[in-house]
Amino acid sequence: MFNTSKSIARRTVQSSRRLIHEVPHLKNGKQFAQQGIEGLYTPQGFQTGWTDYQRYLTTNLTLLTNGTENELKTPYQILLNTAKQTTEQHVYHFASQAHNNHFYFDQLADKSEASKTQPSRLFFEKLASLDHSDLNSFRDEFLLAADSMFGQGWVFLVELPDKSLKILRCHNDGTPYYYGKNQSLDLNGGVDEGSFEYLNNIKKLAKNSARDYTLPLLGVSCWDHSYVKDYGLTGKADYLTNFWDCIDWSVINKRIFEV
């Protein structure tokens, strides 16, 4: 798992010589760019969601980390390094988005290819901890969490340190790797007691500088960049349904931490 997250956060730097952040290569990147992702994206939709948006993120990240302590780090390292700093949140945004977007696109495949892959038995075993006996009921819960979210964001299936699974909603540029920046609440409306308690709890954790060992297995983008081009402003539900059919489960299976 650690290897996976490192490779995802890969940057075009091998030596200590500084290079600029570039759009990473996807496994089928060239094919996707020409034909789109069958069953999910047209070539234009892929261009907006990946090629252009990732370029936008990496270029901004380069501009903001030039000549700073973060200039030799990968987006993954930058997001962890800046997550706690109140004045570095714009840098954090681009790092976290670049990482999440790569994480999301890394797991996609053509519908015909994706249908050949299956979640592993280990995955199903873990799913039982979420009280889901089959994949379909889990699918409904996962996609509902994504669809009912107001605004931009990400929904992750994460593995907690005790090896159980959880569906985690991250608004905007939230990250699954650090509890302080999960951004699971929306305080723009009313604040209920649950949210208040949740915040209090996180504050306590942060005060004691508790560590977070949560790792994501599956993620879906709820950012407009990922669906507006192909599905329109109101097409989120259609996009999510199609997304489910294009998950390359072999990638997800590899992300599960095996002892």
């Binding site: 107001f150 931009q152 608004h171 409306g189 407009d224």
Partner: protein, 341 residues
């Protein structure tokens, strides 16, 4: 939403089936003209985008609002969006209703502040534009109302500076959000001779379904804290009573643990940030009256301007601001008087 969406897909029912009274999509004349003429919204949106932003998404929000209100059994007759918003902002259990109504309200407010213009062009910038410095003073659209101009000049220095502040705030928004120009209302004096004073203009941001006047909202954390304190006092009292009954030697360990936990929580909050303190006091006797809203959410520029088009979109947006509407929304300004006694 998706639950509904899935159900709808399976049964082929229309979501728009609503019983009794339901909210209708408000009519915005500039947009209706664009729709009728099947033309572009000059200088800002293409025709198809206008349809998506207002007629489709607006309807989508409306459907959501009607649906959720019905689900919660709320009475829609005789209410309007603003009443719903102010009524529900402190009711987190109705988060859905609140979010739909607030999103719709701000979207309408934003679109009503605009008019088509023929100075700017819709274009799709490339990745290179990320390196370009936003132009400082390449704009033609300026407010004409002398009171407004004077007010802006006094509070922000100049129209240039005001524009920079407004657009920079919009550039800073990463997800969904609006930038607002608001007039601050200060209430002073006691009930018999209350004075309403508008002295300041300011620029403020809201995110997702946030609304400008969140005076009601900001009290919530304090209220919750108060509840917690009350619970702690109650527990302490009970512990005292118990120990008096059973003799001072015995202590109810369960109760003590709970008290310690609560004390811990409250003490943690006592070390609050400066921001929290400001939050509690800043809106105590203030009200914000919105004059202008600018939508910086990605959906507005992704369709016409592409991923790299945010700056271009915002520049065009400035050109499209209808200053007459802004001036009409402006409350009477109370000038500051300096008297030497």
């Amino acid at each position: 939403m998706l639950k509904n969406g899935i159900r709808i897909k399976k049964s082929g029912l229309s979501l728009r089936q609503v019983r009794n009274f339901s909210f209708q999509l408000p009519s915005i004349s500039t947009l209706d003209q664009v729709k009728a003429a099947n033309s572009d919204y000059d200088g800002l949106f293409k025709n198809s985008t206008v349809k998506q932003i207002w007629y489709e998404r607006g309807q989508h929000l409306l459907d959501g609002l009607n649906q959720t209100m019905e689900d919660h059994g709320l009475d829609k007759t005789g209410t309007d969006l603003q009443t719903i918003i102010t009524g529900l902002i402190s009711k987190p259990q109705l988060y859905g209703v609140y979010s739909y109504s607030a999103s719709l309200y701000t979207l309408q407010f934003f679109l009503e502040s605009l008019k088509p213009n023929n100075t700017s062009e819709i274009s799709t910038p490339t990745a290179d534009t990320l390196l370009k410095t936003p132009a400082l003073n390449e704009y033609t659209n300026v407010p004409t109302n002398p009171v407004l101009v004077d007010w802006i000049n006094q509070l922000f220095g100049s129209i240039d500076e005001f524009r920079t502040l407004l657009l920079n705030s919009a550039r800073g928004i990463k997800g969904d959000g609006y930038v607002w120009l608001v007039a601050k209302l200060t209430v002073s004096g006691k009930t018999e001779n209350t004075k309403y004073i508008y002295k300041e203009l300011s620029v403020t941001n809201t995110y997702n379904a946030g609304v400008v006047d969140d005076g009601l909202r900001s009290g919530q954390v304090t209220k919750l804290k108060g509840q917690k304190q009350a619970r702690l006092d109650n527990l302490r009292k009970r512990a005292d009573e118990l120990s008096q009954l059973e003799g001072s030697s015995t202590q109810n360990t369960e109760l003590q643990a709970e008290i310690a936990q609560l004390e811990d929580d409250i003490n943690l909050k006592e070390l609050g940030t400066v921001e929290e303190a400001e939050d509690i006091t800043v809106y105590a006797n203030k009200k914000l009256v919105p004059l202008l809203a600018i939508d910086a959410s990605p959906r507005n520029y992704l369709l016409d301007y592409g991923v790299f088009g945010k700056n271009k979109y915002l520049d065009n947006l400035w050109e499209s601001i209808d200053w007459d509407v802004v001036a009409k929304r402006m409350p009477p300004r109370s000038k500051q008087f300096f008297s030497i006694d």
